[in-house]
């Protein structure tokens, strides 16, 4: 039995489109959330879950040998839930309960509430360390799985990310792959203006990581980079995915202040048309 799901490129693009619509619809319905940061990660998550990369069993969500996907940029929860639903972890209807009372579909992911949600995140900077724990645990338990961690770019301003970067190299965590959604914006403005990260690839190399860079909206390129990372021995790997914040909706791409707010129902109608045409 194969534990990965691998669709052709046309289907993957359809999935990406439907995930974008789900992000739009669930955050608009909730009246809050982080649609633009979720949009920028859509192709990354599509490649990981549906491009033949992640090994998982939705009917046995805590299968000990599953590959792990940790959404360190927890504010992209509106992307995670529809992706997990699409993967088969829970019925799709659940996603409409995002941010509703008495719902496990929390605004930021909470471990233990929904199958497939590996970690509690939302205070940025913690996911990579959690991923190292899973790597070390896999070694002790003699299980062969890989660990994927999706980092935000603003998140890389947090010291803990670099504590983890140092430790992952120290432990030669070659089953660990980070994917950095480099959309170039943080909450209050452009990264380069607020707290510059460059030279970013050099920083990761300096910490002992294998670094590749891709267009983060090119699903084929992402799959290729993720496959290449699986072959790297003796060091952790990071894929710096260059993305566009708000990708798929022109007026969201043009306005970084959509970071922490939902679209109005009127804006959502326009956004839907753009996503469907995109």
């Amino acid at each position: 039995m194969s534990d990965t799901v691998s669709y052709d490129l046309t289907t993957l693009k359809d999935i990406a489109r439907s995930l974008r619509l789900d992000i739009l619809d669930t955050t608009t319905r909730a009246g809050s959330g982080h649609p633009s940061s979720s949009f920028s990660s859509v192709e990354i998550v599509t490649a990981v879950y549906f491009g033949g990369i992640l090994r998982y069993r939705p009917q046995d969500p805590w299968w000990p040998e599953r590959d792990r996907f940790i959404m360190s940029k927890g504010h992209a929860a509106p992307l995670l839930y529809p992706a997990l639903a699409r993967a088969g972890y829970f019925p799709r209807d659940e996603i409409w309960r995002l941010r509703q009372i008495n719902s496990p579909v929390q605004g930021h992911p909470i471990q233990g509430l929904m199958p497939g949600v590996e970690a509690t995140t939302g205070s940025l900077g913690q996911g990579l360390s959690l991923g190292i724990g899973h790597v070390l645990g896999g070694r002790l338990n003699r299980l062969n799985y890989r660990v994927y961690v999706l980092l935000g770019d603003g998140e890389c301003e947090a010291g803990q990310v670099w504590e983890a970067a140092m430790a992952a190299a120290h432990f030669k965590a070659d089953t660990l792959t980070a994917i950095l959604d480099y959309n170039k914006y943080q909450e209050t403005g452009p990264i380069s203006r607020e707290m510059g990260l460059e030279p970013l690839a050099e920083k990761w190399r300096g910490f002992g990581w294998s670094v590749s860079e891709v267009d983060g909206h090119d699903i084929s390129a992402l799959i290729q980079a993720l496959q290449a990372a699986q072959g790297i021995a003796g060091q952790p790997s990071i894929i710096i995915a260059h993305t566009v914040k708000g990708k798929g909706v022109s007026f969201v791409e043009a306005d970084f202040t959509f970071h922490g707010r939902a679209l109005t129902p009127e804006q959502a109608v326009r956004a839907r048309e753009e996503i469907l045409c995109g």
Partner: protein, 322 residues
């Protein structure tokens, strides 16, 4: 006079040594136990495991945030991590990580905060955990344990390891006298131990203040005051039954802790007592202050954490009953 002497207690081992032995024992018993160190294993005594089970010991270095989250990741792999460092460094550097990755996630991780209180002594206030119990108290899912001697440390480490869910255990540096017979401490999480019966006043204490309270009770007995002493080794969940019984049966309570009065054991005991059976209370602990670098016993004296201070508080609260 030596701590515990007036109560007739025999000298015991440093709590951190007891922790190191207890940790090694649970590692021996349970292959799922793993130990994470913040480069202080020689001080916390977690290093006992490094020597015996090197593959299950990880020094994460001087990076407490990373330390806590790597531990949380290991817990998610069905292992039982003991995350160890000084309580001040863990709580103050990695509170956010403990909150999200351990407490909100409600995972099966154990946190050892050593060098709690002021009795680490000469290294001074930057290293002291005098607010650790209040901070841990701010995390709703966290069980909080404060053992008071070697036997209770062994029992607490074992109980914490078996308990499903987050546990904080406070350790300290100094030697404490033996209150419980070797290897024979009744220890049920959430059930206080009555280590001395009494009907005139109840002294509720944890950690080093338990032998202090027993010394105080010996002095009070000479004055005709019959003091009950409760070892409140679990701060959460708190033993409401024992506290309400103490209030009802003695009519006066003194609390004693090596911690800030603000948000520590005493204020939580007061909430239970006020709700269920209000009686006069007095509180021994650190008033709003940081202490200094000095000999632990000199500081306990200066900052009013001695048996004599408990005696004075007990006299005062007994007088207030009338």
């Amino acid at each position: 006079m030596r701590l515990g002497e007036r109560a007739g207690l025999k000298p015991g081992a440093p709590m951190r040594d007891a922790f190191g032995e207890a940790l090694l024992a649970v590692c021996r018993e349970n292959p799922k136990v793993v130990v994470l160190d913040g480069d202080l294993g020689n001080s916390t005594k977690a290093e006992t495991v490094r020597q015996a089970y090197p593959e299950r010991f990880f020094n994460i270095g001087i990076a407490e945030s990373n330390l806590v989250c790597i531990g949380a990741g290991l817990a998610a792999c069905d292992l039982i991590p003991w995350i160890t460092s000084f309580s001040s460094f863990l709580l103050c550097n990695a509170y956010d990580q403990i909150r999200l990755a351990v407490a909100i996630s409600n995972i099966n991780a154990k946190i050892l905060g050593s060098h709690g209180g002021i009795t680490l002594g000469k290294d001074g206030p930057t290293q002291m955990g005098i607010e650790d119990l209040a901070l841990m108290g701010g995390l709703p899912t966290m069980t909080i344990l404060v053992p008071c001697d070697t036997a209770s440390m062994h029992a607490a480490v074992r109980a914490a390891t078996h308990h499903p869910g987050p546990v904080f255990l406070r350790s300290s540096r100094v030697a404490l006298p033996n209150i419980y017979p070797d290897g024979n401490c009744p220890f049920e999480i959430g059930v206080a131990n009555r280590v001395r019966p009494g009907t005139d006043v109840a002294i509720v204490a944890c950690g080093i203040m338990v032998p202090m309270a027993l010394d105080a009770a010996a002095v009070l007995a000479e004055e005709g005051i019959d003091a009950r002493v409760l070892d409140l080794h679990t701060l959460r969940p708190m033993d409401r039954t024992a506290l309400v019984a103490a209030a009802r049966e003695t009519g006066a309570i003194v609390t004693a802790e090596e911690h800030l009065l603000q948000g520590g054991m005493g204020s939580n005991v007061a909430r239970v007592v006020a709700e269920s059976c209000p009686v006069p209370m007095r509180f021994e602990g650190l008033a709003d202050t940081y202490v200094e670098s000095a000999d632990p016993w000199d500081m306990l004296e200066k900052y009013h954490l001695t048996a004599n201070d408990i005696v004075a508080a007990a006299r005062d609260v007994v007088a207030a009953k009338k």
